[in-house]
C-alpha cells in the first residue's frame, strides 16, 4: 500500500505538470474569414494579454490606447477605426494564435501591442512575411531590431543601461555589484553595461550575480549575501514585475539599502510595482524614458486627461500605447485614401519628430524610438510614493 501510494503520488505530480503544459499547447486558432473592406474603416489589431502575469501592464496599455482614440473621436488620420482585439496571453504560443487571428482572420492593416519579449520574438517574422506593420508598445528585445514591418514606440530593452553607464562610472566613486534576473533581458543589461559603463572607466566589484527568474516562492537572501561578499560601493540591478517588488523589499529589510545605493532600469519602480514596494523603494535611482512630472505641454495635458479618465496616474507603459495611436494617426493621414498595410509601413518611416508626452522622439534606423532617458529618484510626496526626475541621462542610439 505504501509503495503504491508513493509511486502514485510521484506519477500524479508528473501528470499535474504535464496537464498544465498540454493546456497551453491546445490553444489553436481557426483560419480564413472576412476580407477587410478597402473603402471602409481602417482595421487595427490590438494584441495585449487579457490574463496572466502581464495583465496589469496590458491594462495600462489598453488605457493609453483608448485615451488617444477617445481624444480623436474614435478616428485615426481622419478615418473611422475598427479596433479588433486578440489575447497575447503569457506564452509565445498564445501570442502566435492571437497574431494569426489578427492577420489571417481579421486582415488588419496594422497591429499594436505585445508586452512580452518572448511573444515579439515569436511573432515578428509572421508580420514581416505578411507585410503588415506590427507596432510593439512594449516588448523590444535587441534581436528584433531593424526588421521590416516591425516598429516599437517603447524603447530598446537595454537602452536604460546604455544611458546609465557613463553616469554610474562618473558618479558612484567605486566598484558596483551587478545583479540581474537570469533570462535574456537580464543578460542584455549585463552586455549594455559592458559597452557604456566599462569604457567610461566603471569597475565591477565581482562577477555579475544571476538570480533565478522568476524568483517565485524563493527568497533573494542568498543572492543578497553574494553582494555583501563583493563589498561594492553601490548596486545595479534589473528586475521587473513581482520580482521587482520582492527584490526591493528584501534589499531594504536585509539592510543593504542603507549601505549601498541601488540603481536600476526604471521598470524596477514603475506603475503597479511601486505601489506594492511602498516605502522600501524610497531613494532608488533609476533610468526611464518617461516620468509623470516631465515638464512639457503634451505631458501636462496627457497626465490630467489620463488621471481624470482612469483615476490613477499614467505610466511609461500607457504613454507607449498612447504614442502608438499618435504615430498611426499621422501615418494613416499621410497615406490618404489608400491606407493599405504597405502604405502605412512606408509612411511610418517618414514621420520625423513625434510630439509625445515623454518629450519629442523619432524612429531610429532600428525602427525603435531615439529618445531622451531620465535619471529619476523615488521619493515620498505626502502619502504618495513617486518617481521624480533629477536630470537627463542622454539619448542612446542617436
Amino acid at each position: 500500500m505504501s509503495e503504491l501510494n508513493r509511486r502514485g503520488f510521484l506519477r500524479l505530480t508528473g501528470a499535474a505538470a504535464a496537464t498544465s503544459v498540454l493546456a497551453s499547447a491546445c490553444s489553436g486558432s481557426s483560419l480564413g474569414g472576412s476580407e477587410a473592406d478597402a473603402g471602409g474603416p481602417v482595421k487595427i489589431g490590438l494584441l495585449l494579454p487579457d490574463a496572466g502575469v502581464y495583465k496589469g501592464l496590458g491594462d495600462d496599455q489598453r488605457n493609453g490606447w483608448k485615451l488617444f482614440l477617445e481624444q480623436n473621436g474614435g478616428k485615426l488620420g481622419g478615418r473611422e477605426v475598427k479596433v479588433v482585439t486578440a489575447d497575447e496571453g503569457e506564452e509565445p504560443d498564445t501570442a502566435k494564435a492571437g497574431a494569426e487571428k489578427l492577420l489571417k482572420q481579421e486582415r488588419c492593416q496594422a497591429v499594436c501591442g505585445v508586452i512580452s519579449s518572448g511573444s515579439l520574438v515569436a511573432i515578428q517574422e509572421m508580420f514581416t512575411a505578411a507585410k503588415v506593420p506590427l507596432i510593439s508598445t512594449n516588448a523590444s528585445p535587441t534581436q528584433v531590431q531593424g526588421k521590416e514591418y516591425g516598429w516599437r514606440t517603447s524603447f530598446v530593452n537595454d537602452h536604460p543601461s546604455v544611458a546609465f553607464g557613463e553616469y554610474l562610472a562618473k558618479n558612484v566613486g567605486g566598484p558596483i555589484s551587478l545583479i540581474v534576473a537570469d533570462y535574456a533581458a537580464g543578460h542584455d543589461h549585463i552586455k549594455a553595461l559592458d559597452t557604456s559603463f566599462k569604457p567610461a572607466g566603471g569597475e565591477l566589484a565581482g562577477k555579475p550575480i544571476l538570480a533565478p527568474f522568476p524568483i517565485g516562492g524563493r527568497s533573494f537572501q542568498p543572492y543578497l549575501q553574494q553582494i555583501e561578499k563583493q563589498k561594492p560601493k553601490a548596486v545595479y540591478c534589473f528586475f521587473a514585475g513581482a520580482d521587482a517588488v520582492k527584490f526591493v523589499k528584501e534589499y531594504k529589510k536585509f539592510g543593504l539599502a542603507d549601505k549601498y545605493q541601488l540603481y536600476a532600469p526604471g521598470w524596477l519602480t514603475e506603475g503597479g510595482v511601486l505601489a506594492a514596494q511602498g516605502e522600501a523603494a524610497v531613494g532608488i535611482l533609476n533610468s526611464l524614458n518617461y516620468s509623470t512630472d516631465l515638464d512639457n505641454a503634451a505631458n501636462q495635458k496627457f497626465v490630467s486627461a489620463f488621471t481624470k479618465a482612469y483615476d490613477q496616474p499614467p505610466t511609461a507603459f500607457s504613454v507607449a500605447a498612447y504614442d502608438a495611436g499618435l504615430v498611426l494617426d499621422r501615418a494613416i493621414a499621410a497615406a490618404g485614401e489608400k491606407a493599405t498595410a504597405e502604405a502605412i509601413e512606408r509612411q511610418l518611416g517618414k514621420l520625423g519628430e513625434i510630439d509625445s508626452p515623454r518629450g519629442a522622439w523619432k524612429f531610429g534606423q532600428n525602427r525603435s524610438p531615439v529618445q531622451k532617458w531620465y535619471l529619476r529618484k523615488v521619493e515620498k510626496r505626502g502619502d504618495a510614493i513617486t518617481n521624480v526626475v533629477i536630470e537627463e541621462l542622454g539619448t542612446p542610439g542617436e
Partner: protein
C-alpha cells in the same frame, strides 16, 4: 576562517533558511496528511496559501487588529475550503488519483483566475504589523524583525501540531487511520469524520501559513503554483503522511534553498531537485516515513 567565522558569515542565510523551512512546513503538513490519510492529492493546496496571503493584503493595514483579523479569517476560510474540497473529492474516491488531481487542478486554475481578477495581475502589498516592520541586529547582522518573530510563532505552531499528532490520543487515532483505515473502521470509529477534520485542519494550516507568510512570500500571480511545487518536494523528501517527515523535509529544503544557494550559487538551479534526488537515492521512502504494515 574557523567555524565561528564561517557561522558568522552565513548566519543570516541559516536563520532565513529556518524561517523559510517553517513556512513550507505549514503547507506541507496538510498536504502530507491529506494524501497519507485520504489518498487525495490536493493540487489546490497552493491556492489556500494564496487565499491566506490575499487576506493579509485585504485586512492587515499595518495594525495588530487587522493582522489578527486576517489570521482568524484565514482559519475560517481555510477550514471551510478544506470541508469543500473534501465534499468535492470524496465522490471521486473510487475513481483513482488522476480524477482527483484533475479536479483539484481545476479548482487551482479557477482560484488563480479569481485572484487575477481581484488583483488586476499586479503583486499586492501585504504588510506585517507596523511594530514589526523594521530590521534588527542579529549578532551584528541586519535581519528583518518580522521574520524573526515568524520563526518563533511558526516553531510554536509546528510544536503544537507535532504534539497533537504524535503524542495525543487524538493524534494516535489519526495516525492509525493513516496506517490502516479498515482496521480503525472495524474498531467502530467513523473514519470519515476523522478524515474531514484532518482535511479541514490541514487546509486551515495552509491558509494561516499564507496569512503569516504574506510579508515574506506575498500575494502575486503564480505564487500558488510555486509554493505548491515546493511543498510537494517537501512531502516527497519527508515521507508521506507523517508530521515529523514534513517538518524534517521542510527544514531540509529551507536550508538547501537558503544556505545551499548562498554557498554554491552557480549550482542554484539544480539544488532543489538535486537534493530531492539525493534523499530519494539514500532513503527511498523519505526522511521519516510512516510505519505501515507490509
Amino acid at each position: 576562517m574557523g567555524v565561528i567565522g564561517w557561522l558568522d558569515a552565513n548566519l543570516v542565510s541559516i536563520v532565513d533558511g529556518v524561517a523559510y523551512g517553517l513556512l513550507l512546513f505549514t503547507l506541507a503538513a496538510g498536504l502530507s496528511l491529506v494524501f497519507g490519510m485520504m489518498d487525495v492529492l490536493n493540487l489546490a493546496h497552493g491556492t489556500l496559501y494564496l487565499a491566506g496571503a490575499y487576506l493579509t493584503f485585504l485586512l492587515s493595514g499595518g495594525g495588530w487588529l487587522g493582522f489578527f483579523a486576517a489570521i482568524a479569517a484565514g482559519i475560517a476560510i481555510g477550514a471551510a475550503g478544506g470541508v469543500l474540497l473534501t465534499a468535492m473529492t470524496q465522490p471521486l474516491a473510487g475513481r483513482g488519483h488522476l480524477d482527483q488531481a484533475l479536479l483539484t487542478i481545476g479548482v487551482a486554475l479557477i482560484g488563480a483566475e479569481v485572484f487575477l481578477a481581484l488583483s488586476g495581475g499586479d503583486p499586492l502589498p501585504a504588510s506585517e504589523p507596523a511594530a514589526l516592520d523594521g530590521s534588527i541586529s542579529l549578532l551584528g547582522h541586519v535581519y528583518p524583525t518580522y521574520r524573526l518573530v515568524f520563526i518563533g510563532v511558526a516553531a510554536l505552531l509546528a510544536l503544537l501540531v507535532y504534539l497533537v499528532f504524535e503524542r495525543s490520543t487524538l493524534g494516535a487515532l489519526v495516525r492509525a487511520a493513516v496506517a490502516d483505515r479498515e482496521m480503525v473502521q472495524a474498531l467502530g470509529v467513523d473514519t470519515r469524520k476523522v478524515l474531514l477534520a484532518v482535511f479541514a485542519f490541514g487546509a486551515a494550516l495552509a491558509a494561516v501559513g499564507g496569512v503569516l507568510g504574506a510579508p515574506i512570500i506575498g500575494p502575486a500571480p503564480g505564487v500558488d503554483e510555486s509554493v505548491l511545487v515546493l511543498s510537494l518536494v517537501v512531502v516527497v523528501v519527508g515521507g508521506l503522511g507523517s508530521i515529523r517527515g514534513a517538518l524534517l523535509g521542510a527544514l531540509y529544503i529551507g536550508q538547501v534553498q537558503s544556505l545551499g544557494v548562498a554557498l554554491i550559487p552557480e549550482y542554484a538551479p539544480f539544488l532543489l531537485f538535486g537534493s530531492m534526488f539525493l534523499v530519494l537515492a539514500l532513503r527511498p521512502r523519505g526522511l521519516a516515513p510512516v510505519a505501515r504494515p507490509a
